[in-house]
């Protein structure tokens, strides 16, 4: 197989023809008159009917995929919408969705995407290439400030989407982009017949608000909106026009209804799960997991600990150039690799996992977590915590310990700094207290400053008025490209020193080069090598000191079929169309 040919359609699409190299042939033009080209999905064959009740922390702010910035909105919207190419949350690989197949040119700049025939929106209107072109144009419209817009820019230039015929589109990239098919995930294909008028009128951002009549909200996802009761619930009903089916050719979804019950506190969610009023909790904290775990043998629910997800917690030091004088005095320490390595060595990650996460987490020494099966560099060393080894490194770097045990630098200044942490996060605060105690053993005085999360972000990204910070990042995808902003030295979320005009250090220049190269390298193995090198540099230079990746823990009723939670968001409802009740009593 030629290396530029994207290998897809391995198991999921029974009906798809083999993909040819080069541009795809044009498809028949009249999309509406064709028999539906359904996608067959693998999994247990289930029974239709029943309602699933899922906990939601908050109610959605909008049903508009372009305007949605918050998780509660997106959780609901993505049960009603679909994308062209989808990242399978279980395999972590891109797979066809509304796109039946695609080809890519040898230079990686041009994609030709064939759409499914006979697909209809939930209101019965046929879907075709005009909807796709309209959707991408809307997402790329600067006036709408869509969250996904940045992902559709390559080197600052937008991708171009054009119609070839009713069931074929062409996508032109401004520059080669590895794994470009992943860009199409989470770009909802919107109904042009409903939304083009508000777009032209400049009111698309306000369309499909929560007060919109349910019948007005149309999509290609497995469910459609039936009812929204503010503060209570959002009820979605089965979309009869959905384009997936099971191996027995039964149309999906199985469930007749999917209800999001608004239960703001996790305590109440746990109580209602135990009472049988809720069927699924999408995320359970470690403290509640302990309680649920204890009772699950006699309870109707099952708790699933998926192991480390893509979230990682880390400590980093302020290495910005423009900082207050008090911080500047400490930057000689923060900028010294040996100091950062000593800090990393002194921190007992096993204690962080045991005490802050009740054992439900994984210690990490690199920024790509073990939950990212495709990209984690398994060769990164896991040095054991050692105060003496840390002190030896600090001695090499010119630090000394006084008679009272206080660590001082070569100029005799006692080493003391503050760690900024978000006040509301109990686990991060516990971690900060453990790190403080570990560093005390080196003779370092640490003050913990717990502030409101927005104040933390403001200090880190804007005023740069902090010494060190304990923070967490959650990757949206396993692929490294969405994290370009973190690793490029000119990135806005290059946390320890954002928006550099030129790389401040040689190793940051090297990371810039590697990240840019991997972004345009189309060969998967070569990309992996490049990103492995980035991970090795980060693990050695420790601009972020990786500490822990908390486990993803979810819960659901035992009788829920095809419940296969994954570590990519949405953990539990990513295959909502396949979920079904094994027994009649679960069906409500």
């Amino acid at each position: 197989m030629r290396r530029w040919l994207v290998a897809v359609l391995l198991t999921a699409v029974a009906a798809a023809p083999p993909i040819a190299a080069g541009a795809a042939r044009a498809q028949p033009a009249d999309a509406s008159t064709q028999a539906t080209d359904r996608m067959v999905v693998d999994g247990d064959i289930g029974r239709s009917g029943g309602t699933l009740v899922v906990a939601a922390r908050a109610e959605p702010k909008t049903f508009n995929p372009i305007a949605a910035l918050d998780s509660p909105s997106r959780d609901v919207i993505w049960r009603m919408q679909a994308d062209l190419i989808h990242i399978n949350r279980e395999t972590q690989r891109a797979e066809p969705a509304l796109a039946r197949a695609w080809t890519v040119s040898p230079d990686g700049l041009h994609y030709v995407i064939n759409l499914r025939r006979g697909v209809r929106f939930s209101d019965g209107h046929p879907f075709d290439a005009d909807d796709v072109v309209f959707s991408f144009n809307a997402y790329l419209d600067e006036r709408l400030h869509a969250a996904q817009r940045d992902l559709l820019l390559i080197g600052g230039k937008p991708i171009a989407v054009r119609k070839i015929d009713a069931l074929t589109i062409g996508v032109d990239l401004p520059a080669p982009y590895a794994a470009a098919e992943r860009l199409f995930d989470s770009v909802a294909i919107l109904p042009r017949h409903r939304l083009e008028a508000p777009w032209k009128a400049g009111t698309l951002a306000a369309a499909w608000g929560v007060a919109t009549a349910p019948a007005e909200i149309v999509g290609l996802g497995p469910f459609r909106l039936e009812r929204f009761r503010p503060g209570e619930d959002i009820v979605l009903a089965r979309n009869p026009n959905y384009w997936k089916e099971d191996r027995a050719h039964t149309p999906l979804p199985y469930l007749a209804r999917l209800t999001f019950a608004v239960v703001p506190s996790e305590e109440a969610q746990v109580v209602r799960l135990r009472a049988g009023e809720l069927d699924v909790l999408n995320r359970v904290s470690t403290q509640h997991a302990a309680t649920l775990d204890r009772d699950q043998a006699s309870a109707p629910y099952v708790l699933r600990d998926l192991g480390p997800g893509l979230e990682y917690h880390f400590l980093f030091f302020n290495q910005n150039e423009s900082v207050p004088a008090a911080v500047r005095a400490k930057q000689a320490w923060f900028g010294d690799d040996r100091f950062r390595r000593a800090i990393s060595l002194a921190i007992d990650r096993a204690s962080l996992v045991r005490l802050a996460y009740s054992g439900r987490g994984t210690p990490i020494w690199g920024h790509v977590t073990p939950g990212n099966r495709l990209w984690a560099n398994t060769a990164i060393a896991h040095p054991a915590a050692s105060t003496s080894a840390a002190l030896a490194l600090l001695t090499q770097a010119g630090f000394t310990r006084g008679a009272d045990g206080t660590l001082a630098d070569a100029r005799g200044t006692a080493v003391s700094f503050s760690i900024l942490v978000a006040a509301g996060n109990a686990a991060l605060n516990d971690m900060a207290a453990i790190v403080q105690d570990d560093l005390r053993k080196l003779g370092i005085t640490v003050q913990i400053a717990a502030l409101d999360f927005s104040a933390v972000l403001s200090r880190v990204l804007e005023s740069h008025d902090y010494d060190a910070c304990l923070l967490r990042l959650v990757s949206g995808d396993v692929d490294p490209n969405p994290e370009m902003n973190v690793w490029l030295s000119n990135g806005p979320t290059h946390l320890w020193h954002p928006l550099q005009t030129k790389p401040a250090t040689d190793w940051e220049a090297e990371v810039d080069r590697l990240m840019r190269e991997q972004m345009t390298t189309l060969d998967a193995a070569a990309r992996k090598q490049l990103y492995d090198r980035v991970q090795a540099i980060v693990a050695e230079k420790l601009p972020l000191v990786p500490l822990v990746s908390p486990n993803i823990i979810v819960a659901a009723k035992r009788t829920l079929g095809n419940f296969r939670p994954a570590v990519l968001d949405h953990y539990t409802l990513w295959n909502a169309e396949q979920l079904f009740w094994r027994t009649a009593e679960g069906r409500r």
């Binding site: 302990a290 309680t291 005490l355 006040a423 109990a426 913990i448 717990a450 409101d452």
Partner: protein, 331 residues
């Protein structure tokens, strides 16, 4: 008097115990016993497994092989809690390692709750006391001046007090904390909490004192003293101050638990003294994790202590008020 004696003695006893925390507490409150997170309170035994009675209570602890050994409670023994120097301070009670004496269990990081409760009491009750002194001092001064002299002084003081009462202090403090330096040492943090609570709280006692002074100033015996040539300072000192002081004392017994609670609120919102210094507010903050508290009831110890101390103060305030009324000072 006997109504007052009981609660007053109780209050004093609480302060004595928390002031003696380094001696009474078995452990340094910051030490993390990382192998014992959320450990239940240590059981004290007097009868061993063979049914023999021991005059000295003991605790049981398993060794590495799983065998259980008894470790008698040691009184006034020197502990080995200072790792660096190898010799620790004397403690009221302790047990030899590897046994542990967690009288109120441990928190999520394995820190002894009993020791943290005592050390935390020094902060929380200390803040209550000092902030009350500050608020009452300012309130007494400004309230007396406003009540005694009246006129523009009265109008100005009352206008400013209105502003202070109307300010949303908690939000202001949250904003203030976000703008403050991050590396605030515990002593400075303590001082700023006392000042903030004291300054925020002077207005209400000032208004009360003003009312008392205004009432006393218009009494016949005060007018007689003034008419017979007594200076304003003498009238204030001899006639007005005793009445105001009596009310201030009652106010103090009400304000101290209130301001202790204010410290707890500030710590609860993360504006208090930072880790690892304990305070009751920071400890009660853990109770937000309800499931944790239900499963580990000993985490509620600081809340129970706060309720107990508040009841003692309220009983003291009640007795003081009865005494004041009985003396007819405010009538």
């Amino acid at each position: 008097m006997t109504r007052l004696l009981g609660p007053a003695v109780g209050v004093v006893a609480v302060y004595v115990v928390v002031l003696a925390a380094p001696f009474v507490a078995p452990y340094d409150p910051a030490v993390q016993h990382r192998d014992h997170p959320l450990a239940a309170p240590t059981a004290l035994h007097m009868i061993d497994r063979d049914g023999r009675f021991h005059l000295r209570p003991f605790v049981e602890s398993e060794d590495a092989d799983g065998a259980t050994h008894a470790y008698p409670l040691r009184v006034f023994a020197r502990s080995s809690d200072d790792v660096d120097t190898g010799r620790g301070s004397r403690h009221l009670v302790s047990v030899d390692p590897p046994a542990n004496l967690f009288l109120f269990g441990t928190d999520t990081l394995g820190r002894d709750q009993f020791s943290r409760l005592l050390y935390g009491g020094r902060i929380s009750l200390g803040v209550g006391l000092l902030a009350t002194a500050l608020a009452l001092g300012v309130g007494l001064l400004l309230g007396s001046l406003a009540g005694f002299f009246g006129g523009w002084i009265d109008a100005a003081v009352m206008a400013v007090s209105d502003v202070f009462i109307a300010l949303p202090w908690l939000y202001l403090l949250l904003a203030l904390r976000a703008a403050m330096p991050l590396d605030v040492a515990p002593a400075r943090a303590l001082a700023s909490i006392v000042i903030v609570i004291g300054i925020a709280g002077w207005a209400r006692p000032a208004r009360l004192i003003r009312g008392v002074v205004l009432s006393v100033r218009n009494r016949d015996f005060v007018a007689a003293a003034a008419a017979s040539g007594a200076s304003p300072a003498r009238v204030l000192r001899s006639h007005v101050a005793p009445a105001a002081l009596s009310v201030a004392l009652t106010q103090a017994s009400i304000l101290i638990p209130q301001y202790t609670l204010a410290e707890i609120t500030l710590s609860f919102f993360g504006i208090g003294i930072g880790e690892p210094t304990p305070s009751w507010g920071a400890m009660i903050g853990v109770m937000l994790r309800q499931e944790l508290t239900i499963a580990h009831w000993w985490l509620a110890a600081p809340a129970a202590a706060l309720i107990g101390v508040s009841l003692l103060y309220h009983a003291t305030a009640d007795a003081l008020q009865r005494r004041t009324l009985a003396l007819g000072v405010t009538r």
